[in-house]
Structures are given as structure tokens and as C-alpha cells.
């Protein structure tokens, strides 16, 4: 039994490793094909990651990605594809920034209010897709993608000065107004102008633990995983599939809403036109790469944050920093291919093992179970 466990671990690690190695190799080939040195950019990035200020940036970005990827992962665990994390994240950041700027409360309460509003807004936006799916059977992939577009337009309209926005003097930017200092989440200052680590990063890590516990140790988590593995079996076992879809959509949206908090509470203190976009899409790749596992997602988020932040100086050296985007794109494809390969290999191997042990015990299996 121990042996199978060890195998499982090896097979579990084989997928990501295979994906990363092949995407590195392919990126190098792309660099070669464009007549550039394939090794130096990577050397430069590793060098960059050695500076303390870049490290702080990487850690902060990891927290943001981690939250958004958890939001995606909880959907994945029950075969729901919440492609709308990005829209939920942006809308939640905007609405909570508006609410945060309009009130003044004692410190912790102010922060709590902003966080709760963000989670509720994200959950509400995802919940629309959930309700459409449970009542009308609309595919959540389609509806969340469309809700992304709607969120973009809605934000653009809401942030107009005649509605909720504010135009700072002498600036083209539009913001939602500054949140009072009582609503700032304290961070850890790394000194010497290295910047500070967002306090909300630790909340993100704590939510990773909660995610693991909820999924693996609670009845709710079991029902959710069972629904993801086989909806028909879960229903027969007593899971109310519709309720499950709606609940997990709400949780996913809530987490997506929280993923704007590190930036909002720790850095910008306002939602503006320059608020980072696309986090929700990168998170899909991260959740895939991390196999929906809280530890795996953490490493994947760290890797993507590294690619993002360590590449910023490549332009100066004459390399297009877009190569990291090429690499991220290749990772998506490599992940899908290599996981399927490893999964098939793993299934074959296990069935072979069962077959061997049973053959030793004198039993025989039908061809179907063995070759399937």
C-alpha cells in the first residue's frame, strides 16, 4: 500500500514537471527561431529575482493569483468552469472601493466592510451564472464569459464622474475616490525602500488552508467532489445537484471578489482605470497547473508571479518581455496534454498492479476492465 502511495506522489508530480520542462524548451525554440539568445533572458530573470524589491513584488502578486486561482479551482473540482473570475474580481474591487471610500469606520470594521462587500459582489456576479444554469440550463462557460463583457461596460459606466467616479485634478484617470486610512490593510515593511508585503497575502494563504479543509474534510466538500467526479452518482447518493451548482458558484465568485483585496487594501486604496486586469484569466492556467490542489496552486501562483515580475527589465536588455507571455501560453497547452498523458499512464499502471496481485491470488479479470 505504501508503494502505491509513493507512486501516486510521483505520478502527481510528473504532470507539472513534464508541462514546465516542455514549455521551457518550446520557449527557447521560439527565441532561437527569432534569432535571439535562448539562455540569456532566463539568466536575467533569475538574476532579477535575487533583488529584494522584486521578491516583494513577486510575493504580493502570488497572493493575488492564489486567491483568484482558488476561485477557479473550486469550480473545477465540480466540473464548473467559472471563466468569469476576472469580471467578478474587477466588479468586486470597484464596488467595494466605492463603498470603502464613502464611509469612515474604526479600522478593523472598515476593512471588514470592504472585504465583505467585495465577496458579496463577486458572489452576486457569479450567482447570476449559477441561477441561469440551474433554472434555464445555460452553460456557465458562455454566461460567465458574457458577464465579463458586461462587467467591463458596467464598470466603465459606473466610474464616470457623473455616476460614482472621481476625476483627480490634472489627471486623465478616473478613480472611485481614496479610501480613508482606517480602511488600509497593514502590511509588513521590508525596509530600505524594498516596499511592503501586503497583509492580505496572509489572508490568502489562510484561505488556502480553509479550502483544503472544506474540500477534504467536510461533508460539503465530499458532496462537491463527488458531483465533480460523477454527477449521476452524486445525485443518487443524495446530493442536490442544483443547489450544489449554485453554492459552489457563489463560493467561487466570493473568492474571486476577494482576489482584488490585496491590491485595493494594500496598495492603490482606490479603483481606477489602471487597476490590473486579466488576473482571472491567468488564474485559470494557475489552477490547471496546480491541479486544483492548494499546495500545487501556491507553487503555480509563485511561478507565474515570478514570470510576470522578473521579466520587467528584459526590455532594457533588448529582449521582448512578452516571451514570458508566450511561455505562459505554452504552459496552458502543455499542462492539458501532459496531465492527460500522465493520467492515462497512471490508470494503466494501477490496473496492471491490481491485475497482477489478483492473478497471483488466482482470480482473473475481464478484458473490459483491464483495457478500459
Amino acid at each position: 500500500m505504501m508503494k502505491i502511495d509513493k507512486d501516486k506522489l510521483l505520478i502527481g508530480a510528473a504532470g507539472p514537471v513534464l508541462a514546465l520542462v516542455s514549455s521551457f524548451v518550446l520557449t527557447m525554440l521560439v527565441l532561437l527561431a527569432t534569432g535571439l539568445d535562448p539562455i540569456e533572458p532566463i539568466q536575467l530573470m533569475i538574476e532579477n529575482a535575487g533583488y529584494a524589491d522584486i521578491q516583494v513584488l513577486i510575493i504580493n502578486q502570488t497572493g493575488i493569483y492564489y486567491l483568484a486561482a482558488l476561485a477557479v479551482a473550486i469550480g473545477f473540482r465540480m466540473n464548473l468552469f467559472n471563466i468569469g473570475v476576472d469580471g467578478q474580481y474587477r466588479l468586486a474591487a470597484m464596488i467595494s472601493a466605492v463603498v470603502g471610500a464613502s464611509v469612515e469606520l474604526p479600522g478593523p470594521l472598515h476593512i471588514l466592510l470592504i472585504v465583505v462587500v467585495a465577496a458579496l459582489t463577486g458572489a452576486f456576479w457569479a450567482g447570476i451564472a449559477g441561477i441561469l444554469k440551474t433554472t434555464r440550463g445555460v452553460s456557465e462557460v458562455v454566461s460567465t464569459i458574457m458577464l465579463n463583457a458586461i462587467a467591463t461596460s458596467l464598470i466603465a459606466w459606473l466610474i464616470l464622474p457623473k455616476n460614482l467616479g472621481v476625476q483627480p485634478e490634472g489627471s486623465n484617470d478616473l478613480t472611485t475616490g481614496e479610501i480613508a486610512e482606517s480602511g488600509w490593510f497593514p502590511g509588513i515593511d521590508m525596509g530600505q525602500g524594498n516596499g511592503e508585503i501586503y497583509g492580505f497575502t496572509f489572508v490568502a494563504l489562510a484561505l488556502g488552508v480553509v479550502y483544503w479543509f472544506a474540500l477534504n474534510r467536510t461533508r460539503f466538500g465530499f458532496d462537491l467532489r463527488a458531483t465533480g467526479e460523477s454527477e449521476s452518482a452524486a445525485q443518487a447518493s443524495g446530493v442536490d445537484a442544483k443547489r450544489m451548482i449554485l453554492t459552489s458558484m457563489l463560493i467561487s465568485g466570493g473568492l474571486a471578489g476577494l482576489s482584488g483585496m490585496p491590491t485595493l487594501l494594500g496598495d492603490t486604496h482606490t479603483y481606477s482605470l489602471s487597476f490590473p486586469v486579466g488576473v482571472g484569466f491567468t488564474a485559470i492556467t494557475i489552477a490547471l497547473l496546480g491541479r486544483n490542489n492548494p499546495v500545487g496552486i501556491l507553487f503555480a501562483a509563485l511561478l507565474f508571479a515570478f514570470l510576470d515580475k522578473a521579466s520587467s527589465s528584459l526590455d532594457v536588455e533588448g529582449y521582448p518581455k512578452e516571451i514570458t507571455q508566450i511561455m505562459q501560453g505554452i504552459i496552458v497547452i502543455a499542462v492539458v496534454v501532459s496531465y492527460e498523458l500522465v493520467r492515462r499512464y497512471g490508470t494503466r499502471r494501477q490496473q496492471q498492479k491490481v491485475g497482477e496481485e489478483l492473478a497471483a491470488g488466482g482470480a482473473i479479470k475481464t478484458d473490459k476492465e483491464v483495457s478500459a
Partner: protein
């Protein structure tokens, strides 16, 4: 046709080992063996779907090697699969010419050819009937015709009788004799010994992937064949002493379920062949057909109530309504005196309903999950699986080990996925799981389907054991011997209605079969003057 030294290995398992069979031209050759003995693999090799690792195949003395079914068809080998491969929304003619358009075109010439074949072998196929209006037996004849149309000289029939009632089996055998008389060769795969003796000219027995012997149907008995097949005596489903009490456990009153919208496959599998009746059936479909029609039944503590019926006559819907997976349009269900009609699935399961599903892969297991998680499935809220909303993996694992031990689930451990177990062992795990929660009422749908003989006996034992302790069981099965052997009371279901009832002590499979096709209703009298069992006729639905 001759097969020599055929060996096929799958990872870790030898599915076929050194198989040697000689089939004489113009005979019906039966290939028997229990589930998992390697019959299907052998047939796939013969039909070119798989390549043997070793061994040779010769047809008419000439060595052949097939790399695809196309090659096999070109050499005159045709296969009728256990699961029909017909397009429901096309006519018989269209289905037959599909993929064989080059042979006789798609028009009058093809129609003529179909007529010709149909008449020559007495198949009675109507080329313009829609396949969705045909019953199982008719569909099977279309499959046979399809193969003959492509010029097959050797027909392989994979478990052709599994889906038929006894009368239809006899009709099929008449067809096979016709084919034989015309010089065609039939290879007949089965594990039903009585049928094999009736129709075969030669018998080859396969056990554990190899040929263990041949038998002459004129002299062999089912007992001898069974011993060859399993290496020991066949278990019997017989239940001896009655444990029926007069305490009602499950009461169903006037359960009616209407077809909503379009749910795919038609359920009129046993539609009679004459066109006027077919027309009536279609009208009903349009008007929102009743999938369950005023079904009432009572199951007492310690009673096994068996439901016979051709598949698709409402059995699945009855189970789903009892489990709470489908809301009936009218009628009530009560368990142990408590009305459960409005309860969700989970509450019903907690309330003591055990469920051995018809399709264990779809409804009973998480195939990719380890065994111990499968042990939790369906009972996540109950001890030992969880406490106050929190799972207890340790206790669940321990209990899984107990189930594996007590129900003899053959597995190297509880961390392997359910998919890697054989069908019989998966089923034993499910039975063990359901029995572990001391159900008051068990729904057993085809509990031994696709299960090898050894596991079959164990599953029967488990059900009998629980019945002795006061369990009420609803048994639904296509295996009439199992139904008659295990049940205390028998009901026949036809087009969503309980049309007949019978005493399993006196009824014969033939009588049951005719009621299943709707030919007989009311109380089926097997022998003479058995005392009426008043407890069930008072429900008033048996007419």
C-alpha cells in the same frame, strides 16, 4: 473455421491463452463460459477488433489475419453485438444500407434484397418500419439481417438472448436453425446452459481464458456443462424458508409519472409487431405517455418482492421515484409508516433505504476515487463516515477494510480506484456498503448483472441474510431464474403498469415471459390450487 493457439495479453492479465476451436461449416457452435472467462475478447479477435499476440485463424483451410472489422466482413464474418448498433430515427432499410451503400444501392434494389434475405431465413423484417417503433426481438433480427446483407457466411452472436424473454428466444432459435439449414455457420456466445443445449450442434467451454473442453449437446447435461464452466457446481438463487411478516415496510399507492418533454430512447421495447398497435403507441407518446401508471405495491418486513418485465417498461422510473430522484405526478410512498413522498434523496437514504443501482458505474461509484471514498458515497452524513459535518477518514477507511474482508472484495488495498476493480468486486463493494447501514428497505436492481458466478452467490447470500433479519427488498432483474428463486412475491410490469402477479413457488419462466410481453394479465396460476396470497391482491392493481 479453425482457431489455433490464440493468446492475447493485456497489461498484467492474460485474457486468452492458447485457445483452440474448430467450427464446422453449417452448424451452430456455442461458446460458453462465465462472465470474464474471455469469450468477448476471443470474439473481438475473430472480428478483427483486436489482434492476437500469438496463434492463427484459418477459414476454409486458408490462413487469415484481420487488422480491422472491415477485413473480417470481407472474409464473410459478421457480428451481432450484445448492444444493438442501430439508428433509432431511421427505417430498417436505411439502417441496413447504412455503410453498405455500394452493395445494392439505397433504393428499390436494396429493398428487394432485404425482402429476399428476410424471406429466405424467415426473419419477417419490414423494410420501412422505423427502428424506434420496433421491439427488442425485431431489432435483433434487423441486426442479423444487416450482417447477412453484407454477405456474411459466419455469424457471431454475442449473448443474443440476454435481452429476450423466453418466447422470443425460441423464435430466435428458429431463425438460427433456418440460417444453419442454408449452410451458414453461427457462433453463439452465451452463459445460459439450457439455451445452449437447445440450439447448439457443438459446444466449446472456456474457463479462465482458455478452452477447457468440448461437449456434445445430445448427451451433455446442464450440470456437466456448469461444472466444466466454473470448475464446480452452479449456485442456485433458491430461497427456502419464508421470512415474510405482516408488518408493511414500504407502501406505494397510485404512483403515476408522466413523460416530460423528450427523454430520448422510447420505452416501447416490447411493442407488438403488427402496425396498428404501433400506431397506438406513437399516439400515446405524443400525449405525454405514462411512464408509471397507477403503481401500487406493499413490501413487508422480511419480504423480497420481485418485479419482472422487459427492460424499459417503467422499472427504472419506479426506482427513481422511490429514491426521490424523480418527482411523481401523483401517488404516495411511505416507509415504515412514515410518508416519505416529499423527502429529498438524502433524507430517504438516511431513513433506511439501501440502493444497489442498475448501472453501478453511473449511479453507484466514483470510478476515479479510491475505494474508501466510495464507501462514503451515499452515506456521507452517517456514522462512521462523518461526525457533525466533518468527515472521519480514519473510521471510513477502517470500515472499508472491514467491508473488503467480509464481502470478499478482491483488491490489493483500499487506496486503489474503483475503476480498477472487476465488475463483480465493484458490486460486492456496493452491496457491502449498502448493507453496512442496516437498511430497512433495499432496492436491488439487477444485483448480479455482469458479475461472475462466485460473486453472484455471495451477493445472493447477503440479500438473503438481510431478509432474514427483517429487510424488505424490491428486486428488479432481467434474470428470470434469479427473480423466481429469490422472490417471495412476484409482480410483472408492462408499460408502466403492474399487470400481473404470481407465486414464485409455482410459476415457470415461460409463463412469466408471456406476461412480460403483455400477453397475460391478472393472477398467473403456475400449478393448481395454491392458496391465494391475500396480502397483495388487496392493493387492487393486479386486476
Amino acid at each position: 473455421m479453425e482457431l489455433h493457439g490464440i493468446t492475447k495479453r493485456f497489461p498484467g492479465v492474460v485474457a486468452n491463452k492458447d485457445i483452440a476451436i474448430t467450427v464446422r461449416k453449417g452448424t451452430v457452435h456455442a461458446l460458453i463460459g462465465e462472465n470474464g472467462a474471455g469469450k468477448s475478447t476471443l470474439m473481438k479477435i475473430l472480428y478483427g477488433m483486436q489482434k492476437p499476440d500469438e496463434g492463427t485463424i484459418a477459414i476454409d483451410g486458408e490462413q487469415v489475419s484481420f487488422s480491422s472489422p472491415g477485413d473480417a466482413i470481407a472474409r464473410g464474418i459478421g457480428m451481432v453485438h450484445q448492444h444493438f448498433m442501430l439508428a433509432d430515427n431511421l427505417t430498417v432499410l436505411e439502417n441496413v444500407v447504412l455503410g453498405g451503400e455500394k452493395l445494392y444501392g439505397i433504393g428499390a434494389k436494396a429493398r428487394k434484397k432485404i425482402k429476399e434475405i428476410s424471406d429466405a431465413y424467415g426473419l419477417g423484417v419490414r423494410p420501412d418500419a422505423l427502428v424506434e417503433d420496433l421491439g427488442v426481438a425485431d431489432r435483433q433480427r434487423v441486426e442479423i439481417l444487416k450482417v447477412l446483407y453484407r454477405g456474411a457466411q459466419i455469424l457471431i452472436l454475442d449473448e443474443p438472448t440476454a435481452v429476450l424473454v423466453p418466447q422470443e428466444v425460441d423464435a430466435l432459435f428458429d431463425n438460427l436453425r433456418e440460417l444453419k439449414a442454408e449452410g451458414l455457420t453461427v457462433i453463439f456466445i452465451s452463459h445460459k446452459l439450457g439455451e445452449v443445449l437447445k440450439v447448439a450442434d457443438d459446444i466449446t467451454v472456456i474457463r479462465r481464458g482458455t478452452t477447457v473442453g468440448t461437449a456434445d449437446p445430445k448427451t451433455a447435461t446442464t450440470k456437466q456443462l456448469a461444472e466444466l464452466m466454473v470448475g464446480s457446481e452452479l449456485p442456485s438463487p433458491e430461497t427456502r424458508e419464508s421470512t415474510v411478516t405482516d408488518v408493511a415496510m414500504l407502501e406505494v399507492k397510485g404512483l403515476t409519472l408522466l413523460e416530460s418533454g423528450f427523454t430520448g430512447a422510447p420505452l416501447t421495447t416490447a411493442a407488438p409487431a403488427d402496425p396498428s398497435a404501433t400506431a397506438v403507441v406513437r399516439e400515446e407518446v405524443a400525449a405525454g405517455r405514462k411512464l408509471l401508471d397507477d403503481v401500487s405495491l406493499t413490501i413487508h418486513k422480511g419480504e423480497i418482492l420481485g418485479i419482472a418485465g422487459v427492460e424499459g417498461n417503467g422499472q427504472t422510473e419506479l426506482i427513481e421515484a422511490l429514491m426521490g430522484l424523480r418527482a411523481p405526478d401523483s401517488g404516495g410512498i411511505s416507509l415504515d409508516g412514515q410518508d416519505i413522498s416529499a423527502l429529498p434523496v438524502r433524507k430517504r437514504r438516511e431513513g433506511g433505504i439501501g440502493y444497489i443501482p442498475e448501472d453501478r458505474h453511473r449511479h453507484g461509484l466514483l470510478l476515479e476515487a479510491p475505494l474508501w471514498e466510495n464507501r462514503i458515497l451515499g452515506h456521507v452524513t452517517e456514522a462512521p463516515n462523518s461526525k457533525r459535518g466533518i468527515l472521519d477518514p480514519k473510521a471510513a477507511r477502517k470500515d472499508t477494510e472491514r467491508i473488503v474482508r467480509e464481502y470478499d472484495v478482491r483488491t490489493p488495498g483500499i487506496d486503489v480506484t474503483a475503476a480498477s476493480l472487476s465488475g463483480g468486486n465493484q458490486q460486492k463493494l456496493i452491496v457491502g456498503r449498502e448493507m453496512s447501514h442496516n437498511p430497512k428497505f433495499l432496492i436491488a436492481a439487477h444485483p448480479t448483472r455482469g458479475v461472475d458466478v462466485g460473486a453472484q452467490a455471495q451477493i445472493w447470500d447477503a440479500i438473503r441474510e438481510a431478509r432474514r433479519e427483517g429487510l424488505a427488498v424490491l428486486l428488479i432483474s432481467a434474470d428470470l431464474d434469479e427473480l423466481i428463486g429469490l422472490s417471495d412475491t412476484l409482480r410483472v410490469m408492462y408499460r408502466g403498469k403492474l399487470v400481473a402477479d404470481a407465486d414464485p413457488a409455482t410459476i415457470t419462466p415461460e409463463q412469466l415471459g408471456s406476461a412480460m410481453t403483455g400477453a397475460a394479465t391478472g393472477r398467473l396460476e403456475g400449478g393448481d390450487e395454491r392458496p391465494e396470497q391475500s396480502e397483495q391482491s388487496e392493493d387492487g392493481d393486479a386486476r
